[in-house]
Amino acid sequence: MSEPQPRRAAVTGIGVIAPNGPSTESFWKSTQEGISVLDRVTREGCEHLPLRVAGEVRDFEPSEAVEERHLVQTDRFTHFALAASDLALDDARLGQADTGQAPFSVGVVTAAGSGGGEFGQRELQQLWGKGSRYVGPYQSIAWFYAASTGQISIRRGFKGPCSVVAADEAGGLDALAHAARAARRGTDVIVAGATEAPLAPYSMVCQLGYRELSTAQDPARAYRPFTAEACGFVPAEGGAMLVVEDERAARERGASVRATVAGHAATFTGASRWAESRHGLTRAIGGALEEAGCAPGEIDVVFADALGIPEADRAEALAIADALGAHGGRVPVTAPKTGIGRGYCAASVLDAAAAVLAMEHGLIPPTPNVFDVCHDLDLVTGRARAAELRTALIISRGLMGSNSALVLRRGTP
C-alpha cells in the first residue's frame, strides 16, 4: 500500500479592505500603480495628537458590509474582518450552501495586535463618565483580540478549529502558517488573516510610546524605509482575509488554486532590539526555505518588513543577504506598505495577498515614496516591474520582537 499523499495548503480566495481600496481589485490596482494614500489623520478626536500621518480606510461603510447587530456588538476591526471574510469566501466561491454541509471542516484563524480599541474607549468613557451601569455587556467581548475569529465563525456557522494568534505584526504570517498547518492536519477550509483598527484616540495614544512611530507631518516623507531619510513607520487600519484550503479538496470542488503555502518559520529576538533582529530574521527565512524545500535562488521576489528606522532597515537588508547569499543582492525586493501604512498584524497579511496577486499578474508592485535606497538591495521603486514570479518570500517583524518568514508558491489554476 502506498503512503497517502501529504496534504498541501492552497490559497483559493482573497478579501481585502485596505486604505487604498475596499476590495481586492481596488487594492491591487492601486498597489501595482504605486499610488500612496498616506494622508493627514482625520479621525475624530485624533487631530491634536502628534501622530499626523496614517493610512485610514475611508471608502468603507460598515452598515453596508455587516448586519446591524454587528454594528452594535463589535468593534471596527471586526467589521473589517467580517467584510474581508465575505469577500474572500465569495472569491473562493464558497457559499453558505457549501460550508453549511460540512461545518466542522471549516475553521478560522486571525491575528490581532490591538483589538477593539475604539469600542473599548467608548465603553470606558461611559464607565468613568456615567458609571458602571452604563457599560454595555458587549464590551466583554468586543475589545478582545479573539473577537473577530469568534464573530466570523458564529456568523457563518463554522465549527472547525478556530484560533487567534497574538504575536505582534509578524502574527499575520503566523496566522497564515497556522491555517496551513490546520489544512495539512485535516481541516478542509480555514478563513485566515488579520485586520486592525488602531486609528482611534485611545489606540493612537498607546502607539505614541513607540519610538519607531513616524511623527512626520508630510505624507510623502513620513514613511521611507531603506533610505537615509527613514524616520519611522506610519500606522494603518484595514487588513485582509484569505481562504486557505486543502489543495486536493479545493481541486475536487473545482476551485482555482492561486498559491500554495510552502514554508514558514518564526523567531523572537526581543522588543525593539533591531540589530539582533538580523539573526532572528535570517533564522526565520532559513527555516521557511527549508520547510518549503526551496533553494535561496528560487526566491523571485521578497516582500520586505520595511520598518523604516535605519537600524532595523540595515538589519533586514543584512538578513536578506545572510539568508539568500549572493542572490540576496539580486532578488527584487518590494515594500508596497509604504503607500498604505503598516497595519500591524494586517500589514503582513496584506503583503501575502499582494504576493499572490503579484505572482498571478507577473508584476512586482513598487515601493511608493521611496527613492535613493541606501542599502545593498534591489528595491523596486517608481513603477511596477514585470517578472516571471513562481516563489515569493514575505518577511515581517513586530515591535515586540517577533520575526516571521513565509514562502508562497504560485498556484496552478
Binding site: E68, L71, Q73, G136, P137, Y138, I141
Partner: protein, 85 residues
C-alpha cells in the same frame, strides 16, 4: 407606580442593546420562542436588563437575565415592577 413594560418597549430595547430588530407584532406572535431564535444572545438579554435597571433605577431579579422567552421575561419583570410599587 410603574406601568408594565410592553412588547413595543421590549422590541425597542432589543434593538438598542443588541442591534437586533424584531418588530413588536412579530415579537408578540413569537413570545414563546427562545430569545436565541430571535437573535438575542445572553449578552443581549443582559443589555436589555441593564437598560431597564437604569430606567427604573432599581435592580431586577437575578432570574431576569436567565429568561428563555419574551413572555417569561415580561411576566417576570412586570411582576417584579408591580410588586416593587
Amino acid at each position: 407606580m410603574s406601568e408594565p413594560i410592553t412588547v413595543e418597549e421590549l422590541s425597542e430595547l432589543m434593538k438598542k442593546a443588541a442591534g437586533v430588530t424584531v418588530a413588536p407584532g412579530e415579537l408578540q406572535e413569537r413570545s414563546d420562542s427562545g430569545f436565541d431564535a430571535l437573535g438575542i444572545d445572553s449578552l443581549g438579554l443582559l443589555g436589555v436588563v441593564g437598560e431597564l435597571e437604569k430606567r427604573y433605577g432599581t435592580p431586577l431579579p437575578p432570574d431576569a437575565e436567565r429568561c428563555k422567552t419574551p413572555r417569561q421575561f415580561l411576566d417576570l419583570v412586570n411582576g417584579a415592577l408591580v410588586a416593587g410599587a
